[in-house]
Amino acid sequence: MLRLENLSVAIGDRTVLEDINMEIGPGETHVLFGPNGSGKSTLLGTIMGFPRFRIIQGRILFKDEDITALPVNERAVRGMGIAFQRPPTIRGVLLRNIIEIAARDGLTPEELAAGLDLTAFLDREVNHGFSGGELKRSELVQLLAQNPDLVLLDEPESGVDLENMALIGQAINHLLEKEVVRWNGRPLKEIRRGRTKCGLVITHTGYILNYVEADVGHVLYKGRLSCSGNPRELFGCIKRVGYRECVHCVL
């Protein structure tokens, strides 16, 4: 679904990401660990195509198409969606309007908002005066409308209380087709095989792993991918020894 090949990225004149290689297959969810400032958000923003992240080497393939030079909206139209960590307020544009803009399926803003307890927010200016949890839910309702094939989530758990966390976890699982479906005689293997949506989730705290099952974990350290593997194992290791150890792998 998504392939990053030898990707190096600069912000201004400063190189932030170096030689990143990653492949996310259909139905897979990957998580990205890393200390503050390691380049996690830059990587997500580069995949989405924000122009402040300048690709100096390598390329990005999405659904076997080279999208390295495509603008943000062309990537969105092809099935990429991102939840912003700190979304901007747009005055005079209502949450309802932006859901309608994002919508690729036939669901109405009312139907989508009800699932995330956002009905009362539909006629408010998007993100204006929203609390931390409300912002996350607002981002997710827009993604649900968009129904992307690749979901990019930047710290979906930050600033969210427990009650909201369950709602958010549920919405993410829905986006990634990971909802626990009532058993209907189909083998689990088949259900998993039928899943095509994939995701890349940034987490600083690892907390999201309690809600969303991830297939692969990556550690980004000082702009390089230092290791990849089982996400729970990686996170356990990071909890014990911290990111300090990553320096050995990068060198």
């Binding site: 989405m48 603008p71 909206n73 747009i90 005055r91 309007n97 803009i101 200016e125």
Partner: protein
């Protein structure tokens, strides 16, 4: 000052006959009127006034308790009207050499007009100077919405509009005054406005000028003279290249418990905008808030925001908020990530910026305004 500006403009145009049925106007002119909120069919209107150049061509009221007259006629009919006329804006000069024109709109005590009165001030002759002096009186406990559409004819480029509007909103009354301007690019516009608002009364002014004009200079003033009076100004301006606008609004909080809110949204696509605002708190317990936001959609042009707060006693609550800049890149990217192109994203943000949710505005008027905003060329 008025004298010098009139030089070079035709002082007296041709006299126009009364038009019984405004739907007989040419379609292109009707369309222009509609863009200023004036519906020639008069549907859902309590009354209609139309002045073409310096002739009143249509004037009638269809609701009992709502009077729509030519100003000259009203001054003849009511001896007391002379006390109001010129009461807020004193005459600067005598004998203008032209017959007095403009409208007189009055709502009798306790009457709540269901539909708005519409007034059109229209310049149909190239190079003409149009002068009006309007008087509005909303008697105690009454309420009215007025839509004033000021425009030049479809083929008129040059002209001068000088307008004076005095409004009295008496005890417990309500006046919402919406004015939409749609001028030719070489038109000079000099409106003056003053409003006196008594105890418990509410005055809302909504002003829109969304297309080019050579020069627009105005600074209407409202005095909240009675306890608990409320004054609101919403001002929406779009200045294309070659346009100069110096537009402000001022409210004097002269009684306890009075409240003012002044909101301006300005956009330049290359023109020059000075946006002023002034709230004076003269008595304890008065409150006012002023908001100026400007959007630069061009490398050229200028927005100069001048918000002024004046406290004359200690116990007043005055605040302002001003921000001028270009469309934020992160907002554009946000909408692009939801699938809009850069142009679509920018225009969505700009329309949102202009989308001032005006409190208490009837749906119908909001629709007229949405239509005017949709029709306005933002040069993108």
């Amino acid at each position: 000052m008025v004298k010098s500006i009139k030089e070079g403009f035709l002082q007296e145009g041709k006299k126009h006959a009364y038009i019984e049925d405004l739907t007989t106007l040419p379609p292109v002119e009707k369309e222009r009127l509609l863009h200023t909120g004036v519906d020639v069919r008069g549907h859902s209107r309590a009354g209609t006034f139309m002045q073409l150049d310096n002739s009143v061509v249509h004037c009638r009221s269809v609701q009992e308790g709502v009077e729509v007259l030519k100003i000259g006629e009203a001054l003849e009919k009511y001896a007391w009207a002379g006390d109001y006329f010129g009461g807020l804006i004193p005459f600067e000069e005598e004998g203008l050499g032209q017959p007095l024109s403009g409208y007189f709109i009055r709502v009798l005590p306790g009457i709540n007009a269901r539909y708005p009165v519409q007034a059109s001030l229209y310049i149909g002759h190239e190079g003409l100077a149009q002068e009006v002096h309007n008087l509005v009186i909303i008697e105690e406990g009454a309420s009215l919405d007025i839509i004033t559409g000021c425009a030049t004819g479809a083929f008129v480029k040059r002209g001068l509009h000088i307008g004076i509007t005095e409004a009295y909103v008496k005890k417990g009354a309500k006046l919402s005054f919406t004015m939409i301007h749609n001028w030719g690019e070489e038109v000079v516009v000099r409106p003056r406005g003053a409003t006196l608002v008594e105890a418990g009364a509410v005055f809302s002014s909504n002003f829109f000028c969304l297309s080019g004009v050579k020069s627009l200079l105005m600074y209407p003033t409202t005095r909240l003279a009675g306890e608990g009076a409320v004054g609101r100004y919403n001002t929406i301006l779009v200045a294309p290249p070659g346009t100069e606008m110096d537009v402000g609004s001022r409210v004097q909080l002269s009684a306890p418990g009075t409240k003012a809110e002044l909101i301006a949204r300005t956009i330049t696509t290359g023109g020059d905008i000075i946006n002023r605002g002034h709230i004076a708190g003269e008595v304890p317990g008065a409150r006012g808030h002023l908001e100026c936001r400007g959007l630069m959609l061009s490398e050229r042009g200028r927005i100069y925001a001048i918000p002024e707060l004046e406290a004359l006693v200690a116990n007043v609550e005055l605040s302002h908020e001003a921000a001028v800049g270009k469309v934020a890149q992160e907002e554009i990217e946000y909408l692009m990530a939801r699938g809009l192109s850069e142009e679509e994203a920018t225009s969505t943000i700009v329309r949102g910026f202009l989308n001032v949710n005006i409190e208490g505005l009837p749906d119908m008027l909001q629709q007229e305004i949405d239509r005017a905003i949709a029709a306005c060329q933002l040069g993108m």
